[in-house]
């Protein structure tokens, strides 16, 4: 960690507001005193285990549960047929499709849920799964997404009435005719098939829940690994027909989400049903394999990219044709009007004349999902496409990729900038960020070093990625999930002694909400962050809102927290005017206190005002006692953070092993609340990016068997694969956000994979290589060097 201007947080230098501050949540997490779902123990609690299909596509001929039922510690064995009797065998997905909770007719992907056992302990539940006998009649499998729309392809979703193929949707954005026209007159057109393979967020904590249905009151309490407790509550109410006021969702400490804990999975529904039927609390905790093989994956796009430019490197247009593998059920979690998420920002950070995208999404015999893994609703794919194809153009023009980007950036005076696909970028100043990254990297010297090494036959690559994200979903007129608008509430109470609690609708999974949101309120009210508790994750104790994913917490809830604090401050100002016997207009706010204009000696602190608000004596006319407020914030636009990343790699010419030597990341997320937390988020995302670029992939064989069912087979990077991250920043505030902040949570995950891949491909330039697909394992790099590059899917 270098190139940061702030001094490290130290004891005695705690900011009242923004600045470096150790995370408030860390003492309990570091000491092992966190409270995760699997830590929850309730009297009489039973344990649930799920039987999963060993095959990818088969009709269920028969299920015999008698031996499992006879296990002495088994309480219940439930199959899809049992759920069907209750009308619960199928549930809606977040994309208006349906997904089976337990298979009734056939299984559609390997490891699909077929039955569950509830037993007195976790071991017995798992043992009893071995006693269930299922007969499968095998069906042909679609493992290769490219064959999903073949005329003779087996129809996976014959449960959908009238469905005769595996087509899910076609989607289009931009203008085809004008784009084609620009391509026809362009000097240079470069095409490349660019694949973003299926990857998995693989959070440290797998999914889990404890369901407790109280028989008399009908109250359901669900402790659950959810990034969106309020949205889940509403969906459970709609699915299970339970009254919403009788449902309480509690998300305790969450060990990483990355989008994988946005969907509702069959396991949660099974646990609720089990508790409902049995009348006892029921715990379900997924094991590592189950997490990898069945919960939300990400990406799986085959993108044919094309870029048109003048011969001197002015980019004119981009178009792409995408084949999207959505697995057996369309379980994508994105705003409902955006079936491809925010892929429409594939025009990147460049001022184009035209752009067009056509996409086709299909069913295959693979696990459902689609946007999980820190992707800001498919922006990961979009950024990878544009940043890869721009490098392909640089290759064809024999132009420096940094120079090519600098030549084509949207200029600062063009903001707000509407892209050719209709996105309105709120603010940006790209060139300084790019120049800063190049300075930090010593770009010119790196190119010199590379030239010398190439003379000696050594392989060194320098990769650049410049990304613009679109985060903070979103304006409720455009964005909803299953009809729920993507606005977020916030409540703030200041206690008589000037301590406060702030209640959020979003939910941390490790992002540091308990610190960041205290700092936002502290900045507005002058109350020290340690005097502000942040309450979140419990639907009974927090206002409604859509949760934490897509880097939306600071853009949406952060705005709500600032505005609710300002609402409290406005009231405090009126109370202060009474205390100081001055008119409201004559009061000036200096962080933490009001004083009479021109007379700083006449002042009252926010703590004095809090006591007065709750204390004896009259308040100004029309002012109620107490010092609290509530708000629901509906963003007017998304926020558009951006960044310039430079990666330096060395490749062993004989073994083709890639070593990431350096990584420089300059991020601009507008106003920074806690630079230390921002750096932490960036560090994590950069490691994610190295992982995806070099080793991660959920692979399948031709029979649809998942080949990445453990962390031995699905590799995630360790510290040994990560260089010392060199981070820096610029600050371009968002003009429409109350404090000018933009999201940062996913920037590095989105921006880093193309930088790593571009570096590897740059290293291979002496071999005439223009493109190679992820994951760039030593084997794939070596084959690329031999001219035998094969697509991963």
């Amino acid at each position: 960690m270098t190139a940061v201007e702030e001094t490290p947080a130290e004891e005695g230098e705690r900011p009242i507001g923004y600045g470096r501050l150790l995370r408030k949540e860390d003492p309990r997490l570091i000491r092992g005193m966190g409270n995760f779902v699997d830590d929850i123990q309730l009297p009489g609690m039973l344990h649930l285990a799920i039987l999963r299909s060993p095959v990818a596509h088969a009709r269920i001929a028969n299920i015999d549960t008698s031996a499992a039922q006879a296990h002495p510690k088994v309480v219940a064995v439930i199959t899809g047929a049992d759920l069907a009797e209750q009308g619960l065998a199928w549930m809606p997905t977040l994309s208006n499709d349906v997904q089976s909770v337990l298979a009734t007719d056939k299984v559609r992907f390997q490891h699909q849920e077929v039955a569950f056992v509830v037993a007195e302990d976790r071991y017995s539940a798992r043992d009893a799964l071995e006693l269930i006998d299922v007969e499968y009649d095998m069906l042909p499998v679609i493992s290769d997404v490219r064959s999903a729309l073949d005329a003779d392809a087996p129809v996976i979703r014959d449960d959908l009435e009238g469905k005769a193929d595996n087509h899910i949707f076609d989607w289009e954005t931009g203008d085809e005719a004008s784009t084609n026209e620009v391509f026809e007159r362009a000097d240079v057109v470069v095409s490349e098939e660019i694949i973003y393979p299926r990857v998995h967020p693989a959070p440290m904590e797998t999914c889990a829940c404890v369901a407790q249905v109280e028989r008399v009151s009908g109250q359901l309490t669900l402790w659950s690994t959810t990034q969106a407790p309020h949205a889940h509550r509403t969906v459970y109410a709609l699915v299970a027909g339970l009254p919403e006021h009788k449902i309480r969702i509690i998300a305790p400490d969450i060990g990483g989400g990355f989008g994988g804990k946005v969907p509702i999975y069959p396991g949660y529904v099974c646990a609720i049903v089990a508790s409902l039927v049995i009348g006892k609390p029921v715990k379900w905790t997924e094991d590592r394999t189950e997490n990898l093989v069945s919960t939300g994956f990400a990406r799986d796009y085959i993108m044919k990219g094309e870029i048109a430019a003048t011969s001197d490197g002015k980019i004119l247009a981009v178009r792409t044709n995408v084949l999207a593998d959505h697995g057996a059920f369309n379980g994508v979690a994105s705003p409902i009007k955006y079936p491809a998420g925010f892929f429409g920002v594939f025009t990147g950070s460049y001022d184009l004349e035209a752009a067009h995208c056509k996409m086709t999404a299909v069913y295959t015999n693979k696990a459902p999902g689609g946007v999980a893994y820190a992707c800001s609703f498919r922006i990961t794919e979009a950024v990878y496409l544009i940043e890869r194809i721009v490098d392909c153009l640089a290759f064809e023009l024999d132009m420096d990729p940094a120079e090519l980007r600098l030549k084509n950036f949207i200029k600062p005076e063009q903001f707000p900038y509407e892209t050719k696909t209709g996105w309105v970028y709120d603010s940006g100043d790209y060139e300084p960020a790019m120049r800063k990254a190049m300075d930090m990297a010593g770009y010119a010297q790196l190119r010199e070093e590379q030239a010398e090494k190439r003379e000696r036959g050594e392989l060194m690559g320098i990769g650049i990625s410049f990304f613009t994200e679109a985060v903070g979903a979103g304006p409720r007129k455009d964005m909803d999930i299953l009809g729920l608008g993507m606005a977020d509430g916030c409540e703030l109470r200041v206690h008589p002694t000037g301590k406060a609690i702030v209640r959020l609708s979003v939910k941390t999974q490790g992002q540091g909400h308990e610190t960041t949101f205290a700092q936002i309120v502290a900045e507005e009210l002058g109350i020290p962050p340690e005097d502000i508790d942040v309450i979140h994750g419990d639907t009974d104790n927090t206002p409604f809102g859509l949760g934490t994913y897509g880097s939306r917490s600071t853009p949406v809830s952060g705005a709500a927290a600032a505005l609710v604090a300002r609402k409290v401050r406005d009231k405090a100002q009126i109370i202060a005017s009474g205390m100081l016997e001055a008119s409201v207009a004559d009061l000036e706010w200096v962080k933490g206190s009001f004083h009479v204009a021109g007379d700083p000696s006449k002042s009252v602190t926010i703590q004095d005002i809090a006591m007065r608000a709750h204390g004896a004596g009259d308040l100004p006319d029309g002012i109620e006692g107490g010092l609290e407020a509530q708000i629901c914030y509906n963003p007017t636009n998304l926020t558009y953070p951006f960044g310039a990343y430079i990666c330096v790699v060395d490749i062993d010419p004989a073994t083709a092993e890639v070593k990431v030597r350096r990584f420089i990341a300059v991020d601009d997320c507008g106003t920074q609340i806690n630079p230390m937390i921002i750096e932490g988020q960036v560090h994590g995302g950069l490691a994610d990016g190295v992982g995806m670029a070099l080793m991660e992939m959920i692979a399948f064989d031709e029979d649809g068997n998942c080949l990445s069912a453990s962390l031995m087979d699905y590799l995630i990077p360790t510290s040994l694969e990560c260089p010392d991250w060199e981070t820096g920043h610029t600050v371009t505030p968002s003009p429409h956000h109350p404090i000018g902040a933009k999201g940062i949570g996913e920037s590095a995950t989105v921006g880093s994979p193309p930088a790593v891949v571009n570096a590897v491909v740059d290293a291979l330039k002496p071999f005439g290589i223009r493109h190679a697909d992820m994951p760039l394992t030593p084997s794939r790099v070596w084959e690329t060097m031999q001219g035998n590059h094969t697509a991963p899917i």
Binding site: D38, D287, T655, A699, L715, T718, L720, T777, P778, S779
Partner: protein
């Protein structure tokens, strides 16, 4: 949490007790040493032994001893001990090379030499190391001990010469003058199993030729822990890049890797050659650097 099938657990505090338990409990009993291969397999229910005999109390098997003509290593010696042993590093630097890239510190703190050899995973590193060093294995039973050369120890993937009522107790590494060794591994990520790895040991004559040399490969199919034609090609040859090239090609010819998530068969074959060359080059350089200094028994 992945949970194993039900099993019974016994704990042995001596070799004789362990063997007696094994004899009594029969074929469905398994010894557990470090447990870093067996327990994951049990959690995945790929292994379902009825009994586990825990031998972590067999303290008599924790040692690295230098004898007159060999180094003897107790079967329960942990990876970490092998990594940190100055005695091994002095005589057989291949051990430290390999141990630095075996799994991670958590695994190395628990995993054992005997456990690694008995697991007989074709991707496992220490089998190639021991084969390159011409090791032999001491297998004990109630009727006494027998010594099996490394070449006969592995019967096939996941199969060894250790019988149902026997126990691997010791690994013996012959000390020969004027030799050294090295290990090279390619992995997709730190701690991953080898894509391919190669170990080499060479012993030199006084006039700088190779008196004897062995190469062991891992993760490229069966019967590659000691490739006899490699040995024949090395014997009596003067070390040179041409020789390494030639021997690397022989090594590549004698492996039969399969294409999987770690890489294609072609790539692995290429690595077999490349890593053989590198291991030989390093091993010879180590002998030479020692010979130029003070000559010792072994080298390092």
């Amino acid at each position: 949490m992945q949970v194993p099938a039900p099993f019974e657990y016994e704990r042995a505090s001596s070799v004789s007790e362990a063997i007696a338990l094994r004899e009594r409990l029969g074929e469905e009993a398994r010894f557990v040493a470090g447990g870093h291969s067996l327990l994951p397999m049990m959690k995945l229910r790929l292994a379902t032994p009825e009994y586990l005999i825990d031998i972590n109390d067999c303290t008599e098997l924790f040692y690295i001893n230098e004898e007159a003509e060999e180094i003897r290593i107790g079967a329960m010696t942990r990876h970490r001990e092998l990594l940190e042993s100055e005695l091994l590093a002095q005589h057989f630097p291949i051990f430290r090379d390999a141990e630095q890239v075996i799994a991670d510190p958590v695994v190395r703190n628990r995993g054992t030499l005997g456990g690694s050899l008995c697991q007989a995973d074709p991707s496992e590193d220490l089998s190639a190391v021991c084969a390159a060093l011409d090791a032999s294995c001491v297998i004990a039973s109630t009727s006494g001990e027998r010594v099996v050369p490394m070449g006969d120890f592995h019967v096939g993937p996941y199969e060894t010469a250790v019988g149902p009522a026997e126990m691997l107790t010791e690994i013996r590494l012959p000390l020969r003058p004027n030799g050294s060794s090295a290990y090279h591994k390619v992995e997709r990520r730190a701690g991953d199993w080898a894509v391919v790895s190669a170990g080499a040991a060479v012993w030199m004559t006084g006039d700088g030729a190779i008196a004897d040399g062995r190469v062991g490969l891992a993760a490229v199919g069966p019967n590659t822990t000691n490739i006899e034609p490699v040995r024949q090609a090395l014997q009596g040859s003067a070390p040179s890049e041409d020789l390494y090239e030639q021997v690397g090609a022989i090594a590549a010819e004698h492996c039969s890797p399969v294409t999987d998530q770690r890489g294609t068969a072609e790539y692995k074959t290429h690595l077999a050659k490349e890593l053989t060359k590198r291991a030989l080059r390093t091993a010879v350089a180590r002998v030479t650097s020692t010979t130029n200094g003070a000559m010792t028994n072994g080298a390092g």
